[in-house]
């Protein structure tokens, strides 16, 4: 007990001495001699303190993330909403751009004397037909030709008041007379007809038959629709996988369509 009391009394000396020394140091700090002490202590202890500070700041940053979790969540939701908004605007812009391009194509290459109705394509699970949002109300009839510029898309097979179905060339019931033209080195199509033929839809794709055996048709030649049902020349695609059977009197091939029917957004229906 006595020892404790002595230690307690001695510890009181620490307090008194500290206060005395503190006042002395405060008064002496202005002197140049203390600058040396400062520099020496700074040289020894500053690196330790600096590294500890960096470590502390990093740990604080880590914990700050958890503290700000609510704010982050709110910010994330706001960004999500903003992103949806932008996405909607972008979709609208894409539709307008597509329509604009389709119209440009139609004006530049289409038959200007005929009357066309602009129709938007609708989602359809059937790969051989295309649903559009224009029907008899807009003057569409069964058998009307559907195009984009001078590229053939299909023939209207059924018409409702506000919608129609277009039969694509890949449909099994589609049979059209075509001609095959040569594509030049510069990409221009020669007017010389290499051969005529018939395209019909099949499970493998658009098949072209009845190509004359002695014709000079090769893969990559252009296929144009030349059918009385369609009226006028419309590009369909390119000859691919040309094959000839020596026992047969004609060659067969497939047509790679110019248009990707799945990605069409706007088409033009030629109404009489």
């Amino acid at each position: 007990m006595k020892n404790n009391t002595t230690k307690g009394q001695n510890n009181n000396i620490v307090v008194y001495f500290s206060l005395l020394l503190a006042i002395t140091l405060l008064l002496l700090d202005g002197l140049s001699g203390m600058k040396g002490v400062r520099n020496a202590l700074s040289f020894v202890f500053e690196p330790t303190s600096f590294q500890a500070n960096i470590a502390g700041s990093k740990v604080k940053e880590y914990f700050q993330t958890f503290v700000n979790l609510g704010n982050f969540r709110k910010e994330f939701n706001d960004l999500k909403i903003a992103s949806y908004d932008k996405e909607a605007q972008y979709s609208n812009y894409v539709i307008l751009k597509n329509e604009n391009e389709a119209l440009k194509k139609q004006i530049a290459l289409g038959n200007r004397e005929a009357k066309y109705v602009l129709a938007n394509t609708l989602r359809d699970d059937n790969v051989d037909t295309l649903a559009i949002d224009q029907g008899s109300e807009s003057g569409l009839q069964q058998g009307d030709v559907v195009t984009v510029g001078n590229i053939f898309v299909g023939i209207v097979s059924s018409v409702d008041l506000k919608g129609s179905t277009v039969r694509l060339p890949s449909d099994g019931n589609s049979h059209l007379e075509v001609v095959v033209l040569k594509v030049g080195q510069d990409g221009n199509v020669n007017t010389n007809i290499l051969s005529s033929g018939v395209v019909s839809g099949s499970a493998e794709g658009i098949m072209i038959e009845n190509i004359a055996m002695n014709s000079e048709v090769v893969d990559g030649d252009m296929v144009y629709i030349n059918d009385s049902k369609v009226g006028g020349f419309y590009a369909l695609g390119y000859v691919v996988a040309l094959s000839s059977n020596p026992a047969s009197t004609y060659k067969t091939a497939f047509v790679s369509p110019i248009l990707d029917y799945d990605n069409l957004m706007q088409v033009f229906v030629r109404v009489e």
């Binding site: 404790n4 000396i13 500290s18 140091l25 405060l26 400062r38 202590l41 590294q51 500070n53």
Partner: protein, 164 residues
């Protein structure tokens, strides 16, 4: 040899002080002063207090003696109150320490600025709330430190540590 221990403790304290100040503005040096008060030889405690506080003055760019003054005032206050409430390992004892630590943080908020520039710093309610929280955390540390210290003393039969 004990001087070497004190120097090593000083280095460790400076490191922890820097780390905890960056983390949550928590002052470890004064906390250790309070925790070691009446536990080790007064010469070593004095050496540790003076060296540590002067180093912290240099690190924080305070006028030399600022930290020592704040520490001294807070400890003096603790000594004053301990005349009425004994500094035992119980609730009243820790309450005195809590008050003393709170006063330390309060002084720390305006004394360095007052000494270096002569301007008073306005203390907001939020700052006081933070001081209370830090003082509470400090008391928790003191309790743990006292428990560990008493266990160590028992294990070493109070010979080695008592010699410090």
């Amino acid at each position: 040899m004990p001087i070497l221990y004190v120097l090593l403790t000083c280095f460790l304290t400076i490191f922890l002080e820097g780390f905890l100040v960056a983390l949550s503005n928590f002052r470890f040096f004064f906390l250790l002063n309070i925790a070691l008060f009446n536990k080790i030889n007064w010469k070593y405690l004095l050496f540790f207090t003076v060296l540590g506080s002067v180093v912290l003055d240099v690190i924080y760019h305070y006028v030399l003696g600022t930290n020592l003054l704040i520490t001294g005032i807070s400890l003096l206050l603790m000594l004053g109150i301990s005349l009425l409430v004994p500094l035992n390992y119980n609730l009243p004892g820790y309450s005195v320490k809590f008050f003393c630590i709170f006063i330390y943080y309060l002084l720390l908020a305006f004394v360095p600025e007052l000494i270096s520039t002569g301007n008073w710093v306005s203390i907001t309610g939020l700052m006081v709330g933070g001081m209370v929280l830090k003082a509470l955390a400090s008391i928790a540390f003191c309790v743990v430190f006292d428990l560990v210290w008493s266990r160590l003393r028992k294990r070493d039969e109070g010979t080695k540590l008592r010699s410090l």
